[in-house]
């Protein structure tokens, strides 16, 4: 029997207007974040370019000298960069081991009841405003450090800011690591137990390496958070750029400096104004470089399990 209305089979997707609209909107939303990032980089770069265009400023001065006071013609970026790196390093030294330990406990050792109680409490630490952390650093951590290490510790110092930043980042790293550890398939653990491994050996030598990519992602986010943190360092780390590697001394970070100087009043196109953008651009670069390095290291040690 011939079908009079026979049409060749059309395998193309049927276009539905509603679907197309939603698809476009979601595409725009996804593209928006990339667009905003590019716009920010463009704005920073434009003003930073004005800064470097100033005849007083040379790349040699910017990268070669160690004093930052644009008001009197000193443009060495290093005091701010070293302070940022030192406080972030201290923060990571505190938060990474403690965060991983907390994550291991929550995923491997804790009973489901303990886990359901402890995890929300850990999340509370993440919810505390950073300005509160800043005053905690200034009014509690610094006297504590002065009690332990004596008079060497200045009122504003990098160590207490770094330690409190570590406390702030800890729930972030713990939470993300715990998710990564829980995502490791049971059969890896069971295989290890079957071979006679203890819980400790399984956790550290089987589960942890398997979850390394997730933990690496947590570390990268933690580093970015530490480098970009403003309030804690603005309140507790110091208010004058200082090129020093001694964590007991006061030294202003890049973010703290931007916060302090933009709190006053700057006329557009003054050297102080454009210098802020140069610092912000430098901050962006530092974060980017640290992220890339971390990612490269993580990828090298990553395991793929099937």
């Amino acid at each position: 029997m011939e079908n009079q209305h026979f049409r060749p089979l059309d395998l193309k997707k049927k276009m539905r207007l509603g679907e197309t609209v939603i698809q476009t909107l979601l595409f725009i939303a996804g593209f928006l974040s990339i667009f905003i990032t590019l716009a920010i980089v463009y704005e920073l770069g434009k003003e930073a370019w004005l800064f470097f265009g100033n005849p007083d400023v040379t790349f040699a001065k910017f990268f070669g000298t160690t004093r930052w006071q644009p008001g009197i013609g000193q443009f060495g970026i290093w005091p701010l960069v070293t302070s940022t790196l030192i406080t972030s390093f201290i923060a990571i030294c505190v938060s990474l081991p403690l965060g991983l330990a907390a994550a291991l406990f929550l995923s491997e050792y804790a009973s489901p009841k303990a886990r359901s109680t402890l995890k929300p409490i850990l999340e509370v630490l993440a919810g505390i405003p950073t300005v509160v952390y800043g005053y905690f650093a200034l009014l509690f951590m610094t006297p504590l450090l002065q009690g332990i290490f004596g008079e060497d510790v200045e009122v504003y110092n990098m160590l207490s800011a770094g330690l409190v930043m570590g406390i702030m980042i800890l729930p972030l790293i713990a939470s993300m690591s715990e998710d990564a550890l829980s995502a490791v398939p049971r059969m890896l653990r069971e295989g290890a137990y079957a071979m006679g491994a203890t819980k400790y050996e399984t956790s550290l030598q089987v589960v942890l390496p398997a979850a390394l990519s997730g933990i690496g992602a947590a570390l990268i986010i933690g580093i970015s958070r530490a480098v970009g943190e403003t309030m804690i360092v603005a309140i507790a780390a110091g208010s004058g750029p200082n090129f020093t590697f001694n964590p007991f001394k006061a030294a202003e970070t890049m973010t703290g400096h931007i916060a302090r100087i933009s709190g006053g009043d700057l006329s557009y196109n003054s050297i102080d104004y454009t210098s802020l953008f140069a610092i912000a651009f430098m901050l962006f670069l530092v974060t980017l470089v640290l992220n890339l390095i971390s990612e490269a290291i993580i990828n090298k040690f990553r395991q793929r399990y099937e």
């Binding site: 004093r67 006071q69 008001g71 009197i72 000193q74 200034l138 610094t142 002065q146 008079e151 200045e154 009122v155 504003y156 110091g238 208010s239 004058g240 200082n242 090129f243 020093t244 001394k249 006061a250 302090r260 709190g263 006053g264 009043d265 006329s267």
Partner: protein, 353 residues
């Protein structure tokens, strides 16, 4: 059954919280009323006659907002006067920003954002020119006197008096350890705290204490060289917010800083004032002029602003008539009567009274 009871309970609790939140303003107001007992005896006008034109400048007769910004030294005084002005019945908003005299003039003269500039130094010629470009002619009102106080921590048991020259050398890094200042002092590094370049306190300190150490070829003090030396001191902590400096100096027996007298008297338990050239800062030494680093405190406005915004004129009138009652409490010293009278006359001229 329990589900409906529970949801009903939730609604009741939510409603009661909402009603309690809406209900509080009514209960707060009566507690504010007893406060303005003190200020009501304050407005005994020094020179202003009790005639009708002044009635339009009463706090409860004017409306609109007042925006002021500038010196951190003048800040506590302006804040106190703003508070009293509002207690007298003013209904608008008064904002007082503590950003440094230089920044205050910037907002007043370059961007025109503020109605009044607070300053702990006189306006510079370049700032007057910038104002002229905006069509503003600054009118100066002298309010009081500040004794710029050099402070150390109360834990510091070796410093009681320093000469102006020693102070200048400490803040520019020519002395880096206490033992260099005086052989009897301990061999410890000096921790320096001071305001940044936006601050009028900084400018005044530079002009009077530091610049005389750097003389130009013609024998005059070189303020540019002084500024460079002050800002270039490695490890010095700068902040326009004097509270940050207070915190820093309190924290170590080897720290030294400088700011307005009000911040010292507020924290006199934890700080110690250094006698400059043998003279300690207090009421009598400021009055008879023996304290070497006392300076006038000003607010600046413009005649057009005073005419177009009567609330600003009213505020300044209130300020000038009541400043002597409050200034000692805030921590500064009254201006000479002649200067206050001159300020009042300037107000009368500017408002066309």
């Amino acid at each position: 059954m329990s589900k409906t009871v529970r949801s009903l309970l939730f609604v009741v609790v939510a409603m009661s919280l909402l009603l309690a939140a809406c209900g509080t303003p009514a209960t707060v107001a009566p507690t504010v009323a007893p406060a303005p007992v003190e200020p009501t005896k304050a407005p005994e006008p020094t020179a202003a006659p009790t005639e009708d034109p002044m009635a339009m400048y009463a706090p409860d007769a004017v409306t609109g907002d007042i925006i002021t910004a500038g010196s951190s030294t003048v800040f506590p005084l302006s804040e106190r006067m703003a508070e009293l002005f509002q207690q007298e019945g003013y209904t608008g908003n008064i904002t007082v920003d503590s950003i440094g005299s230089g920044a205050g003039f910037e907002r007043f003269c370059k961007t025109g954002e503020t109605d009044v500039a607070n300053a702990s130094r006189a306006i510079k010629d370049s700032e007057v020119e910038a104002c002229a470009a905006l069509g503003r002619e600054p009118v100066e009102f002298r309010l009081g006197t500040d004794a710029l106080t050099v402070v150390v921590s109360a834990e510091n048991d070796f410093v009681t008096a320093l000469t102006k020259e020693q102070i200048g050398k400490i803040f520019t890094g020519q002395f880096t350890k206490w033992i260099e200042v005086d052989a009897s002092f301990p061999d410890e590094a000096i921790l320096v705290y001071g305001p940044g370049a936006d601050s009028g306190t900084f400018d005044y300190f530079n002009e009077v204490v530091v610049a005389p150490l750097y003389l130009k070829a013609d024998g005059k003090a070189d303020t540019a060289a002084g500024k460079e030396a002050l800002l270039g001191l490695a490890g010095a902590q700068f902040s326009e917010d004097d509270n940050v400096l207070v915190q820093g100096v309190e924290g170590s027996p080897y720290a030294i800083g400088y700011f307005g007298f009000a911040y010292f008297s507020e924290n006199s338990g934890k700080l110690k004032a250094v006698a400059v050239d043998g003279v300690e800062p207090n009421q009598s030494t400021v009055d008879d002029g023996t304290y070497p680093i006392s300076r006038p405190l000003f607010i600046y406005s413009d005649a057009n602003i005073l005419k177009e915004k009567p609330q600003v004129a009213a505020f300044i009138y209130f300020y000038l008539t009541n400043v002597d009652n409050e200034i000692s409490d805030v921590g500064y010293f009254p201006a000479p009567d002649a200067d206050l009278q001159a300020s009042m006359d300037a107000w009368m001229t500017a408002t066309g009274n």
